[in-house]
Symmetry: C2
Subunit: 333 residues, 2 copies
């Protein structure tokens, strides 16, 4: 896979420099260690929210730093956990005296490093809570994960917890909300093609010209099943059935739905998928109250998509609707 | 190229149904003929703004329908001009008594059909002005175009003219602004891979595993040169030099810059490109006053990017900053 890059070793830093130049009104970037920080951090008296993980999933997480969402993000190398010192630096940079929430996707390296960073920060007097996101119903345990993987619910948790922190909720309340979002969210993904990590230069996995993989992970980790490419209706049916039956979501439920592109699938297909999802849920008596359709948690240039559903109540919807002002998500300013 | 679709003949309508379901608060969709209309159109006393063109370039144009941008978009089949009756229906749907501006990308079919639609609408009493966008410096004449092709400047023109119409400017003023944006904009694109039209099922063109094409069109029309893949710095240098020398942009100029993805290039590369562009322009004494980095005018799943620069003055920046509320672009609500 060809890429528009210079030296593969410089991809992260050069991309971060682009983020810094493009969004100087919203974020500042530090390079040693690499963190993306809300421009006005630390906000005194507000709970700080930090997330992070391997790069290659943009706009997550750096694109979600700003008012009403994350206070800082730690970008690791591509598909590689950030280091504890990145996480510690981010935690200290956003500590406005009300403590810091770590939103951690469930990958072994991320969990371990965030734990270490929390200990370091706590030793220096910052109150830290961590919530691990594990919404992917595809598989139990995986290539880089014990238990379920953390995927799309991370985006929803970052938005909702960001709004709660913004209105002044305390650390325990924001962390409880994060657990509530995770407990009520389920996701599943699929891919038509592999992605290629810049430093590797070769596709992460091989897949036939007429094949797709259901339940794939955001780093190309094996999913549930490799099969011939099906119609959008069948693809959405398989993913949605797995998601809906898992929580379960029931008739009468209201949900926040995200149809997410893996990076290489055009918007015209994502809206077509959203249409199928909407029809599928209507049949089940489930109503989509809010939605996101687009590329939010990607796998470089992988072609494919994922679906995330969050069972919503009035509190979650109010926090969802609250203003947000980040590079990748902005409304109600 | 595998796609997440059902019957290739249904891609547009099923995708439109997804847009309608996802954005019912912003737009309504009509199917016969197919148009995407601002939910509160026609806005009495406001100049209506209509654009359109072949589908496959999403979010353009349907994603730009809403307050402060387009009043309606006409989606043709993939890479195929919409019909005059679509354009006429859109024109009538947004005529609030102050006339309607057609923003037309310079492709022969689009220009011809918009002309026909304007005649039809005018015969029925709607005042119509049309402005043709032709900002692509890559080639003179092309596969589907006499003269230069219309590309990224269309997005900027739609935003700026939308803001002018929103503040109450009359038809001539809005049309003159559109001409000013076009006259002061230049663009160029490049691709690493082809795209595949769903109904064709085969790549539009062949390109080697180590090749790229500079100056390519948004339908895969031939560009300036096929060559071995270069570094991001060299790629941005070639495109930017062609753009800057053409207008020309001069030291001391302030610009609105768009780094646009063709659909299959991840955001991490687009920000890396933005960084190179920013460095290139700094060297020339040109300042980026505002920017867009992301997928705005795409070519299905083509990997590649384009750069658009618009020489900005205070009036253009004020209109750029004005509130916009559409599926794909929203700020300052």
């Amino acid at each position: 896979m060809k890429k528009i890059i210079n030296n593969p070793d410089d991809v992260i830093n050069e991309s971060l420099a682009g983020v810094a130049a493009a969004h100087a009104d919203l974020v500042r970037v530090e390079y040693d260690p690499a963190i993306i920080v809300r421009v006005d951090a630390p906000v005194q008296g507000k709970v700080g929210i930090v997330s992070g993980g391997g790069s290659g999933h943009e706009p997550m997480h750096g694109g979600f730093v700003g008012m009403g969402m994350l206070d800082a993000a730690c970008p690791g190398d591509v598909f590689t956990s950030p280091t504890p010192d990145q996480m510690e630096a981010a935690t200290k940079a956003v500590d406005g005296g009300a403590g810091v929430l770590h939103i951690v996707k469930n990958y072994t390296g991320d969990v371990m490093n965030f734990e270490m960073a929390a200990e370091l920060a706590q030793a220096e007097g910052t109150n830290v809570e961590a919530v691990v996101i594990d919404d992917d119903v595809a598989v139990q345990d995986s290539l880089y994960t014990a238990g379920r993987r953390g995927v799309g619910a991370t985006v929803l948790a970052e938005k909702i917890c960001g709004a709660a922190a913004e209105r002044g909720d305390d650390l325990k309340t924001v962390a409880d909300l994060c657990r509530k979002v995770n407990a009520n969210s389920r996701s599943m993904g699929m891919a038509l093609t592999s992605c290629t990590v810049p430093a590797a230069g070769e596709p992460t996995f091989q897949i036939g010209e007429d094949e797709m993989e259901i339940g794939i992970g955001i780093h190309g980790e094996p999913g549930r099943e490799r099969m011939k490419v099906k119609s959008a209706k069948e693809i959405v049916g398989m993913m949605s059935e797995a998601i809906v039956s898992d929580l379960p979501f029931n008739s009468g439920d209201s949900v926040i739905a995200m149809v997410n592109g893996m990076g290489g699938t055009p918007l015209i297909e994502l809206y077509l998928v959203y249409n199928e999802l909407n029809e599928f849920l209507k049949e089940k008596g489930i109503t989509i109250a809010r939605n996101l359709v687009g590329n939010y948690i990607t796998s470089l240039e992988m072609a494919g998509c994922s679906i995330t559903l969050l069972k919503a109540d009035d509190e979650l919807l109010e926090l969802w609707d609250a203003p947000v002002l980040t590079p990748a998500l902005r409304w109600g300013e």
